[in-house]
Symmetry: C2
Subunit: 342 residues, 2 copies
Amino acid sequence: MNKITIHDLARELGIDSSTVSRALSGSSRVAQKTKERITAKAKELGYQKNDLASNLRKNKTNVIGVVVPRISRHFFSSAISGIEERAYKEGYSVVICQSLETLEKEEKIIGNLLANRVDGVLISVSMETENYAHLQSLKDRGIPYVVFDRHCEIEENSNVLIDDFKGGFDATEHLIKNGCQNIVHFSGPQNLMIYKNRLLGYKAALQEYKIPFKEEYVLGSSLMEKDGIENAKKLAAFDTTIDGVFSSNDVAAIGAMKYFKKKGIRVPEDIALVGFSNESISAVIDPALSTVNQSGFEIGSTATELLLTQIKRGEVLIQHETIVLAPELIARKSSDRLSKRS
Amino acid sequence: MNKITIHDLARELGIDSSTVSRALSGSSRVAQKTKERITAKAKELGYQKNDLASNLRKNKTNVIGVVVPRISRHFFSSAISGIEERAYKEGYSVVICQSLETLEKEEKIIGNLLANRVDGVLISVSMETENYAHLQSLKDRGIPYVVFDRHCEIEENSNVLIDDFKGGFDATEHLIKNGCQNIVHFSGPQNLMIYKNRLLGYKAALQEYKIPFKEEYVLGSSLMEKDGIENAKKLAAFDTTIDGVFSSNDVAAIGAMKYFKKKGIRVPEDIALVGFSNESISAVIDPALSTVNQSGFEIGSTATELLLTQIKRGEVLIQHETIVLAPELIARKSSDRLSKRS
DNA sequence: CTGTTAGCGCTTTCAT
DNA sequence: ATGAAAGCGCTAACAG
């Protein structure tokens, strides 16, 4: 039940607490010798700095808040790795929060982060997030924030994104080039820009290759595995045989793969599947799976870098800067094998 | 750049800041009417409570620190879900930290949590953790902590664990009962008790069924997928044909499955595999995979419950309490199908 | 029910 | 190089 403060150290050493404070924070204006006495005594008594007091006084926490829909999604946990690595290098630590895809929790979290005076925020918005009052409240209080991956309709943010339109286009084009003519799209919540844009990319590729777009080929999902399973089930019900699927998210792709496996449907022999995902997770699902690779790590560290420059710019006005990263299509099977199908 | 404090509110309303404080923290000893005026003014000016000041004063944060090796491991992210749910219900929030399997980072994290005066800590130790000075420092400062899943050799902790010995025994027995005679064990770092105990369970089951234990059938791993792949490769090199594998961790099982798939080795027809894992992740790897199920969610919420009771007991001495949860064997294929092999 | 007062533990001028 | 003093924003006795 050790509650040693700098005053205790000061008293023991017959000096003032301000000197102790200076010594412990590495000020140069303390005699080397006193410094040593102080650190020795601190260790002896098991002194433990109180960051609450320190941060309160300094009005700076060196903490950045990270809010993601759920950490169990591979994309987000790898993004967090990128964030932490970058942040720690600059002496910042990170607090991780999950919105669990609800706006309510997301708002609560922002309130908490605000109350705890974090120096900045990185956020990937929830499925439900359609109003941005909580982001505005960050702005109002001069807390810089960067939206990564899942961004908002409004423009007045700093963003770090993947080029989802291109990702959707490339995925669809890949399927077409490998002989698919009847390509279904597993979409995502349409209030999230990323899913909107992937859908647009899908449409654009179809148009480019003169394949008529069919509304009924777009199957929604609320980012649950069961949606992927349901979607996969629906494929058999179409008049024409579906030969390709472009999934806008890994979760739906996982669900679909489970269903395919159970039914003995082979990928990509019976049906070609390209999913937005991550190289490593898609390899787990099926080594044969083609992927539009999203490097969570890269997007995380890029977003952190951008945030840190904003934090360092200080109280001056925050500029809105958007960085768009290129998606990378990873085609697992040789197109030889696939093109036999056409 | 809003820096409204309770004093600002008080001044505006011509009352004292202590009344504002009471009103805002829901004290009953404030007139309903003033309460309303205060909350109205707070909203009007965009007042945002400063938890640093509040927590400093109260010497209580209502925060519990969670430290895990890595959040990307499915077990840990689901444990965190259980922790958060339980903690939020009691008005606690949670800060999540990753040791990335190093003792150094783990120690730093504990230091940080201490400096930030968390009310308690939940920890699953890193692969490297063999000395427990950092846990002792929690004890010294009267911060209750509960070790979950990955526990330590020392006894003087509160733990929430899975019965790993039984898990190892059941997994191995399952393989034996289904006709396997040459069972390899993918082990884990032996300074972690959980892997030691799973190995012991494996040995005990062999002995029970009079199958000789062979040292060379125990293949280590450092919890990387590549270890699983390497281990799977080694199976062909044994004199006798390996017909069963008990993997002590999901990561190695995933690696092995990848290798098996690539080589066209079927599970469980060609080789039976039981892995310590989680129902949902193993279903992704292969719906046919048998699993010793570890419910991260359950272990997380149980650990949180235990921690919260300790926190509430206050400054009195901390009792060492250990809760052991039962593992659950989930056999995916009917044993019919498997037993044909014997 | 409300005001007064005194800190929580630290940092930071300003002196010396 | 060190000390004195003030205060970050809040809460919690204690009065009244």
